[in-house]
């Protein structure tokens, strides 16, 4: 084979070693297994690599389970998230917070807040919004100072501005303004407002309101007890 035949001849004189029989059998067996098990795997699991596949599969499963558990554990609890801010609000109110709360108490109560929700968000609201006030009729609420008028519902605010009677009585401003704005109140509520006006000595306003009431409810029969309170005596 070499350019020099003597070199090749000398090399051919070297012992002609052959692979051991066991090695031949192992390789031929592997070749037969590969043909029998079609399609051929990318890596034939023989000898020391036979354990690769089960170990790899087990590792993938363990990893998937671990990741799933980790994700489940780290998911934020919506309830805990809703309650979390309550722990941040200090229990005793500082003077500055009292002043703030005092200013904010004139805001109209949130109409749609359920008791459960109010309880949950109570402390958080104590900073930004007032605590829920004891229920009282709308006409008996304290009169709103001018600085607080912006917090009133727009209809009431427009009515109060149009009548100018916004600081004199408990229910009068609302009644006058509401009537002037063309808002139709239930008869009982309207009559109660007129009675309040009479009680406060605001006779002219009471007369006007009563006249308006009769125009709106011409067929309404005023109960006797209420009639005595709403009509001028």
């Amino acid at each position: 084979m070499s350019d020099d035949p003597k070199i090749s001849a000398r090399y051919r004189e070297l012992p002609r070693e052959e692979p051991p029989r066991a090695l031949d059998e192992a390789i031929l067996a592997a070749s037969r297994r590969a043909v029998e098990a079609r399609p051929a795997p990318l890596v034939v699991p023989t000898g020391r690599r036979r354990w690769y596949f089960p170990v790899a599969a087990a590792a993938i499963i363990v990893l998937a389970v671990a990741v799933t558990m980790h994700v489940e554990r780290d998911r934020p609890d919506p309830e805990a998230f809703a309650e979390a801010p309550s722990g941040l609000a200090p229990a005793p109110a500082a003077p500055a917070q009292d002043a703030l709360r005092e200013r904010m108490t004139v805001q109209p109560p949130k109409p749609a807040a359920s008791p459960e929700r109010s309880r949950k968000s109570g402390r958080r609201d104590s900073v930004s919004t007032p605590d829920p006030q004891p229920e009282r009729p709308a006409l008996e609420e304290k009169p709103a100072p001018s600085a607080q008028r912006d917090e009133m519902p727009s209809v009431q605010r427009r009515a109060a501005e149009s009548t100018g009677a916004n600081v004199r009585g408990a229910g009068a401003p609302e009644l006058s303004g509401v009537v002037a704005a063309g808002v139709v109140l239930p008869p009982e509520q309207w009559l109660q407002g007129i009675a309040d006006l009479r009680r406060q000595g605001r006779q002219e306003e009471a007369d006007k309101a009563l006249a308006e009431f009769r125009k709106r409810y011409p067929d309404y029969k005023i109960p006797e007890a209420m009639r005595e309170r709403v009509e001028r005596r």
């Binding site: 084979m1 070499s2 350019d3 020099d4 003597k6 070199i7 090749s8 000398r10 090399y11 004189e13 070297l14 012992p15 002609r16 070693e17 052959e18 692979p19 051991p20 090695l23 031949d24 192992a26 390789i27 031929l28 592997a30 070749s31 037969r32 590969a34 043909v35 029998e36 079609r38 399609p39 051929a40 795997p41 990318l42 890596v43 034939v44 023989t46």
Partner: protein, 166 residues
């Protein structure tokens, strides 16, 4: 190899019988450590089996086979140093003790020089002698250009020739 790829297990047995001795000696004389040589020899054939689906007859099967073996050897050399191997002398003639001794000494000397060759030159020589590869095929199997393959082979032959001419 194409027949084996098609599912003919007998085709592989023919292929194996044709190349097993030469490849074994190539690996053994490159490594000089029998147990490692056997492991790499087996690994080379396992790779042939595994790669049967991807085999394309773009080159001689022999070149492809020795390319696999060369890559395994390179990986091995990168991991470990070389260790001398003790060769069996079971082929020595039993009928003439004097000639037996002479032949053994000559072979030992030749082997000694062969083993002392730089690994690249020895590999080129073994690919040529055992694999029957041409210079171009040696270059393809070893991943070098033809000039380098020719140079390696020439240096190896020259050193061995010097031993014979002594």
């Amino acid at each position: 190899m194409l027949a084996y790829r098609g599912g003919d297990a007998g085709a592989f047995e023919i292929l194996y019988a044709r190349h097993r001795g030469a490849l074994y000696r190539f690996v053994l004389r490159s490594l000089k450590e029998r147990s490692v040589a056997e492991e790499l020899f087996q690994e080379a054939w396992i790779r042939v089996i595994e790669a049967r689906e991807r085999y394309a007859p773009s080159a001689k099967f022999t070149t492809w086979l020795y390319t696999i073996a060369h890559n395994l050897l390179v990986d091995h050399w990168r991991r470990k140093g070389l260790v001398l191997v003790e060769l069996n002398d079971e082929h020595a003639s039993p009928d003439n003790p004097a000639r037996q001794v002479e032949a053994r000494e000559t072979a030992a000397r030749f082997l000694q020089v062969l083993e002392a060759l730089p690994s690249a030159q020895r590999e080129a020589f073994l690919l040529h002698e055992e694999g029957g590869l041409s210079v171009a095929e040696i270059a393809a199997a070893a991943g070098i250009n033809e000039e380098a393959a020719k140079s390696r082979l020439r240096y190896a032959v020259a050193k061995l020739k010097a031993v014979i001419d002594e």
